[in-house]
């Protein structure tokens, strides 16, 4: 009668905080850059670098502080985000230090600016600042849903951040792209921070509007096409990103914003038509701007055939050198400090830092780096899946989407897959704004994942189960 065959019992797993796993991984993530640092010193100077223990100690202290803050204020956060970000940041500092040792780059800097200053100590200082900011975000932001209140303020804030570089007197035109502002001797890249701020706006806005965007649609050729009036927001973001492209000559930022909006729109509405519309619009915009804006045109020429204009255009030479770096790296690379990626010249330690990875660590190293980035993105999307509130879901997806797009745009650019866009590789590239903004991004993801993974409080005892009198058989 009663046959039970291979039944399964499904129960929730009690949630451990996984902080000790994180600590172990973090220790591992501190040791790897120190190994790399020693390796560079041995390869270039034939001896262990003198600052090795100081550097290692400083880095370990920073990572330890990060861990303690997470342990105290975000107990149930994802165990992978902090160690991976630490590892990438540490390897980034080593890569920058390695390029500092290049005599070619030192001479180039002396010829063009008169002096040469090392970038690695500055990067280390920014890392310290970034970890402090990371701690502040976790301390202040107890619940990410607070940010939902600032939906429209953050829209205004993001637009201001985007417009700042074109404001006369504040913006600084560096090598064709106006994406920096200089305040008191520091140059800041507001676009890096704008990507976080605008994610708040997109998440808050789409959370409210997603039903209208998803449900009111006509079916046409297998696609659900939105109503004309619902196209308003996407047209507006498209226009803003085109304006950024035209007035700031910054392909990367405009691609990032538009792409991020399309990703979040797709996640919010589950309508494939938005992706199709978004792709068509970005291709259309890129073609139009690519034919008219001279700065973009140079980049496109350098992308189509870098070796045809190799000796005439600096942009072509950079892309060509970068491609040769990847080629000469081969499968296993030349080893730390033994490549010639410094031939790229200017921007070797910022936009083109990934070429050094490609040459000195080879395909094996490039794959490992891309996987590490992929793991951060995966944890971000997993956080979005686990988050219980729609705002947190969209916010986490937006942040990881922006991160993914940025990596695609930079890595694709230096490998010659897409035109170079002048963005920075998160955590690797030299630049204070990028390091600060990306640590804030990680802090927010850690906060959302802490909220998402925190075990739900036990339900209140049901009152009516106590009400019924039990008549005992006597």
């Amino acid at each position: 009668m009663s046959v039970v065959t291979n039944t399964t019992t499904i129960g929730a797993i009690e949630a451990p905080s996984r902080r000790n796993t994180e600590l172990l991984l973090l220790a591992f993530a501190v040791v790897i850059p120190i190994f790399a640092y020693a390796n560079v010193g041995l390869a270039i100077h034939g001896e262990l670098p003198p600052g090795m223990f100081l550097y290692g100690l400083g880095f370990a202290v920073l990572a330890g502080i990060g861990h303690l803050v997470v342990r105290r204020y975000a107990k149930y956060a994802d165990p992978l985000l902090l160690p991976i970000a630490t590892l990438l940041n540490g390897l980034g500092v080593v890569l920058i230090w390695r390029l500092d040792q290049s005599e070619r780059l030192q001479n180039l800097a002396k010829r063009s600016f008169g002096t040469f200053s090392e970038s690695a100590p500055r990067q280390m200082m920014y890392t310290g600042l970034a970890l402090a900011l990371f701690a502040v975000v976790l301390l202040v932001l107890k619940d990410h849903r607070v940010l939902q209140r600032f939906t429209y303020i953050s829209m205004a804030g993001a637009l201001i951040l985007l417009i700042l570089p074109v404001v006369p007197g504040l913006g600084a035109d560096v090598f064709g792209a106006k994406i920096w502002i200089s305040v008191g001797g520091f140059s800041i890249q507001p676009g890096e921070f704008a990507k976080i701020v605008i994610a708040i706006f997109f998440a808050g806005y789409l959370m409210v509007k997603r039903d209208a965007l998803a449900l009111a649609s006509r079916r046409f050729m297998g696609l659900y096409l939105p109503r004309g009036r619902d196209l308003g927001p996407i047209l507006m973001i498209w226009a803003v990103s085109l304006l950024v492209l035209v007035f700031e000559n910054d392909l990367g930022t405009s691609l990032l914003f538009f792409g991020m909006f399309v990703i979040m729109l797709y996640v919010a509405t589950e309508r494939t038509s938005w992706i199709v519309i978004g792709l068509l619009m970005s291709v259309g915009g890129a073609v139009v701007v690519g034919t008219f804006a001279s700065h973009v045109k140079v980049r496109v020429t350098a992308w189509l055939d870098p070796f045809a204009c190799y000796s005439t255009s600096g942009a072509c030479e950079q892309v060509g050198q970068s491609i040769m770096s990847f080629g000469s790296g081969g499968v296993l690379g030349t080893g730390w400090g033994q490549g010639n990626s410094d031939l790229i010249g200017f921007a070797a330690n910022s936009d083109f830092i990934f070429s050094t990875v490609g040459e000195e660590l080879g395909l094996t190293g490039v794959m490992a780096f891309l996987l590490l980035y992929g793991l951060i993105i995966e944890r971000g999307v997993r956080t979005a899946l686990a988050a219980r509130d729609p705002f947190g879901k969209l916010f986490a997806v937006g942040l990881s989407g922006a991160f993914a797009l940025q990596i695609f745009v930079v890595a694709g650019g230096v490998m010659g897959l897409i035109p170079l866009t002048g963005m920075t590789m998160p955590f690797l590239a030299s630049g204070g704004s990028s390091v600060l903004a990306n640590w804030v991004l990680i802090a927010i993801l850690i906060r959302i994942s802490d909220t998402a993974r925190r075990p739900a409080p036990a339900p209140a005892p049901s009152p009516d189960s106590e009400m019924t009198q039990v008549v005992r058989p006597s």
């Binding site: 590892l87 030349t334 190293g365 058989p473």
Partner: protein
């Protein structure tokens, strides 16, 4: 620095980098968000042929169990066939109400149909909660809370449950 040392360090670094990636993926493998699925072997008949295998699904250790006391409730007929609920001293409610321990999707069941609870000695008792169609222990309709003999089927609408060791 000798060529050999540098080659060893170069390969060593790549190995360590990949080791980190692999360890990180291992951490994901034991992802916390999912659910644990406990596979049970096939078993037939009212009474279990072999005692429950110790280990994965054992009752909480602080719970003193009487010898021969049932450890789980099994739904053996109806839409929920195969569902098991561990008996850990708590009251189990059955019915269509969504806050029941076992939510019955059964037109013949009342919203609060019956409950099963242990008395002071650990003997499990089934009680009908004034249901429309009644609760049957074996063939008899329940009128008072009744101790459940091991292996006896309890019928609620189209659903049959049993207590097992």
């Amino acid at each position: 620095m000798s060529e050999l040392t540098l080659t060893v360090m170069r390969l060593g670094f790549l190995a360590v980098l990949w080791l980190f990636v692999i360890v990180a993926v291992q951490v994901i493998r034991s992802d916390l968000f999912g659910t644990r699925v406990t596979q049970r072997g096939s078993r037939r008949g009212g009474a279990p042929a072999a005692p429950q295998q110790p280990g994965r699904q054992s009752a909480p250790p602080q719970q003193r169990q009487r010898r021969g006391a049932p450890t789980k409730l099994v739904v053996s007929e109806g839409t929920l066939t195969g569902t098991t609920v561990a008996l850990a001293g708590q009251t189990i409610t059955l019915g269509r109400a969504h806050d029941s321990t076992i939510v019955l999707d059964d037109d013949y069941a009342s919203s609060r149909h019956a409950r099963i609870y242990p008395d002071r000695d650990g003997q499990w008792i089934v009680e009908d909660l004034g249901s429309t169609n009644g609760t049957y222990l074996d063939r008899t309709r329940l009128t008072t809370p009744t101790p459940i003999p091991p292996g006896a089927p309890i019928r609620i609408g189209k659903t049959v449950i049993e207590l097992r060791k």
